[in-house]
């Protein structure tokens, strides 16, 4: 099956799925999942270099190609999407519009695959809009606030997209082609730095908006926080990666080191890249600081997505072989980790109907598997071995230290340790501690919901121990883009990952960990067996106090003895009064919102479909101006 046929048939199928789902949404969901499984097998079977034509627009061929990058990004995306599709088979019964969800998620899959396959800027744009629109229509299926979230999502996304479109036309006007590799070739020889930089930044702005990089990150928290719970996994795990893909295309497919070689800024990195790195670093700071003080667990991980988007951008932006590979590998790690975390949260919300950390607690007693999934996901997200998250962070650090970028390194370290802090908050507040009395009848989610989580966790663990299957396509990608093609980082024959300053052996590290654990376990079993303290005693028997250290006093209400509000109060206090970017951006957002309200009042009836109309109108206007 040709690539174009695949995509178009997917789009058609999505409509079919809608009607099937109208009859039985579960059948639609299962069908969706089967299609997803097929897509995965299809993607793994494809050969690099396959191309196919989609049609012609304004004399330009719209083309799809299958590259290392397409392979890698599609595989990661599909892993996330298919897991969510499996998860949704059960989860959808808590939703109001399952049929539409089924349709849009498949449509969105098609759109994202199209983005990864696109060989030229306009194809990329078309599929981009398909993906964004369909995802945007899923977002308001959540609660009431979600409507507003969808609007903000749309506005922010559109502002990035239009800049991208403008950049694309600027490139077309100057070089007469829309094909990415053609543009890259032309740009290398183009003497005008200003126009090159303009094209570069305009194209990148779509990625900046989509992956929630500062200053266009505010939508991310709102959209991810308010989207339907399982869909947040897709949003954060997969859709954000569209942005990373576009950023990678702009920075790497257009060889920025050579294109902007005339404006080196620091340590051989051009000013344009450095600008992106600075944006990424700012995102890390904002994302980390804001995530630490969130009470809404989904908002918290949404902010962590901002920070991790920053890591990816920093890694890719250095254009160092280590940094590039680290950044691209981080796409995989963050996708898996964020997807698992959001699915775990969706499970929690599915059972308890709240996403406020301060209202939860002690769910480990009731949902141990969800807890384990979350635990391993955060180990990966915080970048701790033996999960895969560490490898990418290690590579990014290597690049930063090698380049001597100490301030950026400082921010990266800050984000890394900060990630410890914020991922621990839901762990402590939601899963550990005391179980509130109202949740005493909560049960573990059914296997259909935890199997996808555990699968992703196992994949992440395996990749953490044996990362070479993922590193190989990334190395291929690096060769494609010509970043230090002779250097080999993954040395699978010696089980080593080599950096500029030494190497390490993931298998050995994992084994050491196992050995340490075994010794600890032997020590543990050698000494007297413990008596169990029943933390659930107040639930089982009326009038039984919580039998842990209380200073000798008696307490019978578990939720009063569970520390989950303002967990890092001492640290939060340090920056609660500082003028924050968040507030400035909120003001900006409010301004845009007011403006939107005004425009809204003049032109629109309140419906998302109006957006579709305006998009098409804008496209027409833009095209009309050009021609």
């Amino acid at each position: 099956m040709a690539l174009s046929t695949l995509l178009i048939s997917l789009l058609v199928t999505s409509v079919v799925i809608y009607f099937i789902s109208k009859v039985s949404w579960r059948a639609g969901a299962i069908l969706n999942f089967l299609i997803g499984v097929f897509l995965i097998s299809y993607v793994f079977a494809l050969h690099i270099g396959v191309t196919s034509n989609l049609g012609t627009l304004f004399g330009q061929k719209l083309q799809l190609t299958w590259t290392h990058a397409s392979y890698y990004f599609s595989a990661v995306s599909l892993l996330v999407i298919v897991s969510v599709m499996l998860f949704a088979i059960k989860w959808l019964d808590s939703q109001k519009y399952p049929a539409a969800f089924n349709m849009f998620i498949l449509m969105m899959t098609a759109g994202s695959l199209g983005v990864f396959m696109a060989a030229d800027l306009i194809t990329l744009y078309i599929f981009w809009e398909i993906a964004v629109l369909s995802s945007m229509l899923i977002v308001p299926m959540g609660k009431k606030e979600s409507r507003k979230a969808a609007v903000i999502y749309a506005v922010m996304s559109a502002s990035g997209t239009y800049m991208y479109l403008y950049g694309a036309f600027l490139a077309f006007q100057r070089y007469g082609t829309l094909n990415i590799s053609e543009i890259a070739r032309h740009m290398v020889s183009d003497p005008s730095t200003g126009i090159k930089a303009a094209i570069f930044l305009l194209l990148a702005s779509a990625g900046i908006a989509k992956s929630g990089i500062f200053p266009l990150h505010t939508w991310l928290r709102i959209a991810h926080g308010n989207a339907p719970d399982a869909f947040s996994a897709v949003l954060s795990g997969q859709l954000v990666k569209l942005g990373s893909y576009v950023l990678m295309i702009t920075v790497a497919a257009i060889p920025s080191l050579r294109v902007f070689g005339n404006i080196p800024f620091y340590s051989g990195i051009p000013a344009t890249n450095y600008f992106l790195i600075a944006l990424g670093a700012t995102s890390i700071i904002i994302g980390t600081l804001m995530a630490i003080k969130q009470d809404d667990m989904k908002m918290l991980i949404a902010f962590s997505s901002v920070a991790n988007g920053g890591y990816i951008l920093i890694g890719i932006g250095t254009m160092d072989p280590m940094g590039f590979e680290g950044g691209v590998l981080h796409v995989f790690n963050h996708a898996i980790a964020a997807a698992v975390i959001f699915m775990a949260f969706a499970s929690v919300v599915y059972r308890t109907h709240t996403k406020k950390i301060s209202e939860l607690g002690g769910l480990i007693h009731k949902m141990p598997i969800t807890f384990l999934a979350y635990l391993f996901a955060i180990i990966s997200l915080a970048g701790i071995p033996p999960m895969s998250g560490f490898i990418s962070k290690w590579m990014i650090y290597q690049a930063l230290v090698r380049k001597g970028m100490f301030i950026t390194a400082f921010i990266a370290f800050f984000g890394s340790i900060g990630s410890f802090l914020y991922v621990f908050r839901p762990l402590a507040g939601v899963f550990l501690g005391q179980l509130p009395k109202k949740y005493k009848d909560v049960k573990e989610v059914p296997p259909v919901m935890w199997i996808p989580m555990m699968t992703l966790v196992v994949i992440s663990l395996v990749i953490g121990i044996w990362p070479f299957p993922v590193l190989q396509p990334i190395e291929g990608m690096r060769m494609d883009y010509g970043i230090a093609p002779t250097m080999r980082i993954a040395d699978s024959s010696h089980w080593l990952i080599k950096g500029f300053s030494g190497s390490w052996n993931p298998v050995l590290v994992f084994n050491l960990f196992i050995i340490g654990f075994v010794i600890a376990y032997i020590l543990y079993t050698m000494f007297p067996r413990p008596k169990k303290v029943d933390l659930l005693a107040p639930h089982k028997e009326e009038g039984a106090p919580i039998n842990i250290y209380t200073g000798g006093e008696y307490i019978y209400t578990p939720e009063l003895y569970h520390y989950n509000t303002k967990f890092y109060a001492g640290f939060e206090r340090m920056y609660e009064k500082h003028p924050s970017w968040e507030k400035v951006l909120e003001m900006l957002a409010k301004f845009f919102h007011d403006l939107g309200e005004w425009v809204h009042g003049w032109f629109f009836r309140p419906s998302p479909s109006a957006y579709t109309f305006w998009v098409s109108l804008t496209i027409l206007i833009v095209f009309w101006v050009r021609w």
Binding site: A382, F420, G433, G516, P530, Y561
Partner: protein, 296 residues
Amino acid sequence: MVAAYKALFNLVVAFFLVLSLEGIGRKITARIQRRIGPPWYQNFIDLFKALSKHPFSNGWIFDFGVLMALGGTMATAMVIPMGSAFWTPFPNSDNFFVIMYLFAVGALGMAMGMVGSGNPWSSIGVSRALTQMLGYELPYLIVISSTIFHYKTASIHKLIEMQRGGWNLLVMPLGGIIAFVSLMGMLGKKPFDIATAPAEIASGPMTELSGKYMGLLHIMHVFAIFVEISLFVDIFLGGGNFGWYLVKFIVVWVLAVMISSVLPRFRIEQMIKFYWGVPLGLAFLNALFVLLGWTL
């Protein structure tokens, strides 16, 4: 196979060295406080006594957290080189960042297990401990990064070999001092023992520990001290034979104990402000010197 023996030897040295040093530290503190103090082997007795008791377990995550803490820290201690390339168990994997992040497994396990005990005092202690990490790790990582940039290697045993010409402490004295200040925070010595402050939060994370859990976490703490001080000794105090390594280790420990015994503890945000003030500034200054090549 030789590597495995060396790793095992690491654990044995760490256990006996640090436990006796802890006892000696208690003795030194006692002398400063004008008393006699316990015998130097008191901590061995304390440890085995704790292990022999019949403890309480607050659920499986409590057990798992303790095991993860001990296992992760032991794994880290096995990678640490002890003062020379010969005493490096795994020359291919002694990368600094690997060690730092492997070390975090223990911290995470401990935090998880202790919060899993369901006690809010533990939670407060853990939240303080994690916040503290944000304070002391940053200057430390910047200093070590500049060291790595200077010597172009992150491999600890290579760093040791590179210091043949002169100790790193003398090559970049600023960095050495900052790293020592950070080391005090890592060791949880006063004024940075906010996480376990007994008068405030009832010994923080350890609140619910009884019997062998206390013992196992004590062992974990022993290995953690070994890792932290060894890293400092290896990176800043140069190489030498095993005896020299021990001497340096003891000197660093005694210095830390003596400083800590006459200082009260900070409040949590004071500590962050302290580390993000002068030490972080000096760490960046050190990095700037390294970039400019102004090393001694």
